[in-house]
Symmetry: C2
Subunit: 328 residues, 2 copies
């Protein structure tokens, strides 16, 4: 098969690669759409020691099963492979599985390829009439969906009384804002510093978009940090109201930015959130299928063979769209 | 009256002072016991700009009402004076009142004195047969009680399945450990670096005491940081299990110590906690009255006139007891 292969810091090649082999309980999926995630960028830049070259990246994918009992089934792929038996899995928090694996991290190859091997239980059927491109957004949108669920649970308030801010207009942030909208939150502000991206997002009806530093202090019941840098964490600490919650999805700098004194005196709750549970993934898929996450028209599509240029464009800040989706 | 007056960084005097005047809705209380808090130490060292000299410190007190309708009533004092009308107060979170005041911070004088003026609604009656010295512990114990309530609520697990750690063997930490015990938590570890204090605490039956660095990594469902230093926050981040919670009461350094990357990848919840609600204060008082917080025999008593030496002893680490209580 052909695949986009990460070959070392800043180098990505469009190459021949052996077809993957489906193991026990796995199927081969012919990939139709595969999105570029911030973590793919992180690996591409050589910043993720868990993803050494050579490696096929990509973990946001949809396609059609080409073998086994589900042959011909249109599917979206949950890339998080869990053991199902550890205490976290047994308590319904498979995202914290002690033995978790994810497509695009050894020992599992990713989905920037014509074919990918996936456990049967990680496949979610996509109804006829739902675009497989939209279905491929399930993975990144599920991250925001999960964070919103945790945040609403922590606040214990009726969503339509809430004022919420989301930092970062990438897919994680946009997905979180759409999940807030789907949950019935009335006032949603998305903060995005890049003017070309902000311009593109400004047309979306589900939320208001503004630049960094425009968010009023102490104004938000919930702030979702979809970036995870020192600056966004500091902004989140300033923006959240006393007794409010910060949901932290981003994996930027490892430390710094939190105003712990204010968080203590004003009883701010900070919740780290990582991916999604299986239930969140399926709920997000259903919300996409039902149209509750909008028309999802904010995606750019390119051929997988043009992947190297897409990575360069994202790195240079030349992408207005929050997501570039690659098609083999 | 006589009072212990903070006169500037490191200086405390035993002086004559005008009697306080009870305002509308207030009573005068003759102080019987008044504990030294870490925040009094902080002010004494000149580190709290909200408490400028000259000032009467002290906000953990019990005594007897000497005027008004409740004259002769034995009481413990809730020192947190709230407005009752702001959104935080109306939502039952008076500790986050936008207009909150506290005894020992201007415009209110504190309780290291023979008399203190207190709003009627801040007085909790102490039953006959309950020692007023124990009743004066209500304020610091309520801080731990409040944190434990928030933590149990966040975890949503049955207390007797939980493994909890408390960092710091001052009254805040001991109070949190006792509140965990009262809530039915079976496995409670208190970490205290000072060997003379650790030795004294080792005799308490409600929890296990150990030194710093003895706490196993990733072992605790809940970690309560009763200190709030960079080092204790780092220890809390290492000790908490995936999906667990850190409750942060301490007001040491303003920033630093949190491993945000681990908190994100392992979905740690961090909750800043500040004082207590009125409900928490009354629940704590009732638990003291009922004996559910133990015998409270870990307090040293000294005359208020010896207050200056007590402050020096605490600063020098010469106090085995988690609390020194002063008696006018």
């Amino acid at each position: 098969m052909k695949a986009l292969i990460y070959q070392g810091a800043g180098r990505m090649g469009w190459c021949d690669s052996p077809d993957p082999v489906a193991g026990d309980g796995e199927s081969l999926v012919r990939v139709h759409h595969s999105g570029i995630c911030g973590s793919d960028m992180h690996a591409f830049l050589g910043h993720d020691e868990r993803r050494p070259a050579p490696l096929i990246l990509g973990h946001e994918a949809s396609g059609i099963v080409i073998d086994g009992p589900a042959q011909g089934q249109r599917v979206t792929i949950n890339p998080l492979v869990t053991c199902g038996t550890c205490p976290a899995c047994r308590s319904g928090r498979g995202n914290l599985c002690a033995n978790r694996q994810i497509l695009s991290m050894p020992p599992r190859q990713g989905a920037f390829a014509e074919l990918v091997a996936v456990p049967h239980r990680n496949l979610v059927a996509v109804p006829d009439g739902v675009d497989l491109a939209n279905a491929a957004l399930c993975e990144p949108l599920a991250c925001g969906w999960h964070a919103v669920r945790l945040g609403l649970n922590a606040l214990g308030q009726i969503p339509d009384t809430l004022r919420c801010a989301v930092l970062g207009g990438g897919t994680i942030g946009v997905g979180a804002a759409l999940a807030l909208h789907a949950a019935g939150v009335a006032e949603i502000t998305l903060v995005e510093p890049n003017p070309i991206r902000r311009h593109r997002l400004a047309a979306m009806p589900e939320f208001t978009t503004m630049g960094s530093d425009q968010l009023p202090d102490s104004s938000s019941d919930m702030v979702i940090d979809g970036v995870g840098h020192v600056a966004t964490r500091a902004a989140a600490c300033a923006a959240v109201r006393p007794g409010g919650a910060i949901l932290h999805i981003g994996l930027g700098e490892a430390t710094g930015g939190l105003d712990v004194r204010r968080m203590t005196l004003q009883e701010i709750t900070f919740i780290g959130t990582y991916t999604y549970t299986d239930r969140d993934f399926r709920d997000t898929a259903q919300a996409i299928f039902d149209g509750r996450l909008g028309t999802l028209g904010w995606v750019d599509h390119r051929p997988l063979s043009d992947g190297p240029a897409a990575f360069d464009d994202i790195r240079a800040g030349r992408c207005a769209a929050p997501k570039i989706m690659l098609t083999p």
